[in-house]
């Protein structure tokens, strides 16, 4: 019975007429937030720049899911599915970061912030990338890389 009630509630909410004005309003807010994130992003705020950008993106994403994707009209299962997927994303982000931050320094990639080793090169084939570099420095660099 619970399922039937939930679908009736959802059908009722979806039926309810909001008018197109709500979508235009959300669109305006999204554009303003985009402007804000571009302006604050260009200031290159030292420490909390990333946090601020992610908070703005989260607010924008919430508006899109709630109003454009109608999650605000949906009940129960739909919300559960969406929030659980977000929870898994956060878990998947947290665990590898904890690992990278706390593991034995020697096992991090050389040249990175958490390693004492110097990188042998930057990891790219500057002189002759297989396509790009090779094409551009045609004939001028004839050295071979011993990979």
């Amino acid at each position: 019975m619970a399922i039937a009630n939930e679908s009736r509630q959802e059908a009722h909410n979806m039926e309810e007429h909001h008018g197109a004005g709500r979508y235009w309003l959300i669109w305006g807010v999204l554009l303003v937030l985009t402007l804000v994130t571009v302006i604050t992003g260009r200031m290159h705020l030292p420490s909390f720049g990333l946090v601020l950008a992610l908070v703005i993106a989260t607010v924008k994403g919430t508006l899109v899911t709630l109003y454009f994707m109608h999650l605000i009209d949906h009940r129960g299962a739909n919300r559960l599915v969406f929030s659980v997927s977000i929870l898994f994303v956060l878990l998947m982000l947290a665990v590898p970061l904890l690992d990278l931050g706390t593991r034995f320094r020697g096992s991090n990639p050389p040249g990175s912030q958490y390693s004492d080793l110097q990188p042998p090169d930057i990891g790219a084939n500057v002189k002759e990338g297989r396509f790009g570099g090779g094409v551009r420095s045609h004939g001028s660099h004839e050295q071979s890389e011993g990979h």
Binding site: S7, G41, A57, M69, F88, P109, A124, G132, G133
Partner: protein
């Protein structure tokens, strides 16, 4: 309960069909939405893999990440964000008009969405060709001399993987929405009881927008 539409040969076909294993149309619509949300959850987790790559390598190579993200064209990125958000608006309006049964408006809104999707891809093409030209390419193909920091090629690996996967989703979303547009033009049977097709297609399109909302600040701004 069910709306009906007359077909070309004059017979009246009930629209939408209620599958016999559903108790009512409401339950059927609920099941369709729930299925779509489950699918979108898998899509979120698919992109999450790339977001986590981004997070881990940014954690390891902060200087290379900052320098590389500043080498991207912020103007093009911002224009693309605005284009995609606006296309999301028209996709939402298409659902709105489908509920009201204004099939012509549904087709127009979806057409505008598709137009902006093409615009997005064209801008993306110019960005990509610029990168191929200056050499900010993934991994061993990297030959840009402006940024010679450890980790910079990894930034562009993440950049190309994320934007290419997102671009693929733009194309898939365009195909899905095209089907709705053709149906709105040919059969014109969207109405208060039959708009699931537009709604689910539009939800997919909003997911594409949602992913870009996160990709844009991560790649271009910070």
């Amino acid at each position: 309960m069910q709306s009906s539409a007359s077909t070309a040969d004059g017979t009246v076909a009930p629209v939408p069909r209620l599958a016999m294993h559903f108790a009512s149309l409401e339950v059927q619509n609920h099941a369709a939405r729930l299925g779509m949300w489950l699918f979108l959850a898998t899509e979120i987790l698919l992109f999450a893999g790339l977001f986590i790559c981004y997070g881990c390598y940014r954690f390891l190579f902060p200087e290379a990440w900052a320098a590389s993200s500043r080498s991207l064209d912020l103007t093009m990125g911002t224009v693309n964000t605005i284009v995609l958000i606006t296309s999301s608006l028209t996709a939402a309006l298409a659902v709105h008009y489908a509920k009201e049964g204004k099939n012509r408006m549904v087709a127009i809104q979806i057409f505008l969405t598709l137009l902006m999707a093409v615009g997005f891809l064209v801008i993306k093409y110019f960005e990509y060709s610029h990168k191929f030209h200056i050499g900010t390419l993934p991994g061993r193909y990297y030959f840009y001399e402006g940024i010679q920091l450890p980790g910079a090629p990894m930034y562009f690996t993440v950049y190309f993987c994320a934007t290419a996967l997102h671009g693929l989703h733009v194309i898939i979303g365009m195909v899905v929405l095209t089907f709705s547009m053709v149906r709105a033009l040919r059969r014109a049977d969207f109405g208060p009881n039959n708009y699931t097709m537009v709604e689910l297609g539009s939800m997919y399109w909003h997911l594409v927008d949602l992913v870009w909302i996160f990709l844009f600040p991560m790649l271009y701004l910070v």
